[in-house]
Amino acid sequence: MAAAEVDRVTPMFWGLFSAGGFVVAFLLPVFIFMNSLAYGLHVVPWEKVEYGGALRWIRGDPATALLGSTLGWLGGWLPKLFLVLIIGGGLFHGLHRFKYVLYDVGLHRAKKVLDPILYGIAAAGTVAAVVLAFSFP
């Protein structure tokens, strides 16, 4: 076979797919658990999750910060980052997989159209997540 050029674009998106999958596999189950069963099982006291409490946490209110006083300022960033990682990682992972599904059912010839559309959706979703997360007061 003739020597072909090293592909430098696919690995980037594969990296996002792979890292996204890693993040989501670890964080999403926790997220789902903490927002559903955790109350019923009394793992999380419900008062901590009422709106005002959550807001104080997102704001990095030192009283609710997880990391003590010196790293307290991080407290407000963590939940935002968490949301962005979960949404962005999930999108890049999921849409990459979906792309493969489409390839495998015979749309591989539409690569030039599919790739920008699907990764575009992932990127737009991630940007939206960033805007949303950081628009919290």
Partner: protein
């Protein structure tokens, strides 16, 4: 020939004889069989007793030479390692490996496969070649263990026959050649990683794999070519990131 009470089995074999007719056709054979017969035994029985023109490849009869592959009831199999008694459907359908050009009956053209193996640079590449007098490049059992799994490949091509990505694009480097590339990537004696990775981390190389995983399902030697490709992807991706973030760092 067959005693009374001998079990009989019906096989439908895909035939192609370009010297006689352009069209492939199916031919049915009914032969006596015992429980200890494999599909290859049935083919040999037909060739010895019924139709000497039936053409197929085999050599070792013990899952080592990798030459006896065929699609049996639609699944790529080593015919020497598949017992007739384990096949439920009748007639047993025997076809040449899918995704390859058929030369005659069950014999397919292995040339494209050979080219792919070669493209993966399946040999030890040294930057500092030592003179022969200084002896061999030593390796510990642990270092051998790192690539043993990939080195078990017998080049039977079952994985290519099972791969839908190769099925729709013959340019794809494919499972076994990728596993072979990883085998040398993981070899402590090798120094040609950059060159080899560059040869396989291409659009039609490992990046074309959509991780269907059928190759690993059908592989008779548990080489796990699908896993090998993912490992190569991770290697290539991290190396690329490193090159971009730390352009001067050694890779």
């Amino acid at each position: 020939m067959a005693d009374r009470g001998t079990k009989m089995i019906k096989l439908r074999i895909s035939r192609y004889r370009p010297e006689r007719s352009g069209e492939p056709f199916d031919q049915e054979f009914t032969i006596p069989y015992r429980d200890d017969m494999v599909v290859l035994d049935a083919l040999n029985y037909i060739k010895d007793h019924i139709d000497p023109t039936l053409t197929y490849r085999w050599s070792c009869r013990m899952g080592i030479c990798g030459s006896c592959g065929a699609n049996v009831d639609g699944t790529p199999k080593l015919t020497c390692a598949l017992y007739l008694r384990d096949l439920k459907k009748r007639p047993v359908l025997i076809e040449p490996l899918a995704n390859f050009a058929v030369l005659k009956d069950l014999v397919v053209d292995i040339e494209p496969f050979m080219e792919k193996l070669e493209a993966a640079k399946p040999y030890i590449i040294r930057k500092d070649e030592r003179p022969i007098e200084r002896g061999e490049y030593r390796q510990t059992p642990e270092e051998l263990e790192l690539y043993r799994q990939q080195s078990l490949c017998i080049n039977c091509m079952l994985c290519y026959s099972a791969c839908p990505v190769y099925g729709h694009d013959e340019k794809f480097l494919g499972p076994a050649a990728s596993a072979l590339a990883l085998r040398y990537e993981l070899d402590s004696r090798d120094q040609g990683s950059e060159e080899r990775l560059a040869a396989v981390a291409t659009e039609h190389g490992i990046w074309q794999c959509t991780f269907v995983g059928e190759c690993s399902v059908v592989c008779p030697k548990h080489v796990d070519p699908a896993g090998a490709i993912q490992q190569l992807k991770a290697l290539a991706a991290t190396r690329l990131m490193k090159a971009m973030l730390l352009p001067l760092a050694p890779r």
